[in-house]
């Protein structure tokens, strides 16, 4: 299939217009039009960006030169996690007996490297006997969910499906 027709943004008629005719090509030899890269050419780039974006919130966007989004997601995820730790929210361990604990672990682990900071910042452990501690648990889980949105956004940008 033609490279132009691979791009859903460019219609078939527009692609034909963009292609130089043979006569023009022979007479003046214009430079070949810039062809958009195929999705298959991207290979593992987008999945790698997604993994990096998961490990360090905002780093995926940083590598894609989206400075504003990188800073925003780092501040949003980091702010939620650190506030949750300071509120002494519960951080779910990997091995949990009940399904809600497993879901909680998945949500917490989605915040990447911030999950590992729990032992340092929240050294005295959680305190969910107070409402503030319970709020902290939700803050930490919400940070992971926000980072999932950031991962999806970075993946879409890397796969050239979104600007």
């Amino acid at each position: 299939m033609d490279d132009f027709n691979d791009n859903p943004i460019i219609s078939t008629e527009a692609a034909e217009e963009l292609q130089p005719s043979a006569a023009v090509a022979e007479s003046s030899a214009p430079a070949a039009p810039r062809q958009p890269p195929k999705r298959a050419d991207l290979g593992l780039f987008a999945p790698a960006i997604a993994i990096i974006a998961w490990l360090v919130p905002g780093l995926g966007h940083l590598l894609l030169r989206r400075w504003g989004r990188a800073l925003a997601f780092f501040v949003a995820v980091g702010g939620l996690v650190m506030t949750g730790y300071l509120m002494r929210g519960n951080v779910f361990p990997p091995h949990s007996q009940d399904p809600f604990g497993t879901l909680g672990f998945i949500a917490d682990a989605c915040s990447g490297v911030f999950y590992l900071l729990a032992r340092v910042v929240e050294a005295s452990g959680p305190n969910v006997s107070r409402a503030v501690g319970d709020y902290g648990t939700r803050f930490i889980a919400a940070a992971g969910i926000v980072n999932v949105l950031a991962i999806c956004d970075a993946y879409e940008i890397a796969a050239r499906r979104r600007r």
Partner: protein, 63 residues
């Protein structure tokens, strides 16, 4: 157990949560800086207003 180092009331926790989530939503939803700021402020306001409305709706249940 040690007391919680960060003492915030319910409304303060709501504001902190809404602030950080609104930043992320604003950057996800809009492409320009002006659009992001407007959408983040709109999202922050909606977080607060809807939460207060839900709290008042639930108020009779607590009595």
């Amino acid at each position: 157990m040690l007391p919680s180092p960060l003492h915030v009331n319910h409304f303060g926790a709501l504001l902190i949560f809404a602030f950080f989530v609104s930043i992320a939503i604003g950057f996800l939803a809009r492409g320009t800086n002006r659009g992001r700021l407007r959408y983040a402020l709109w999202s922050l306001a909606m977080f607060v207003i809807v939460s207060i409305c839900i709290a008042w709706l639930m108020y009779p249940l607590s009595r």
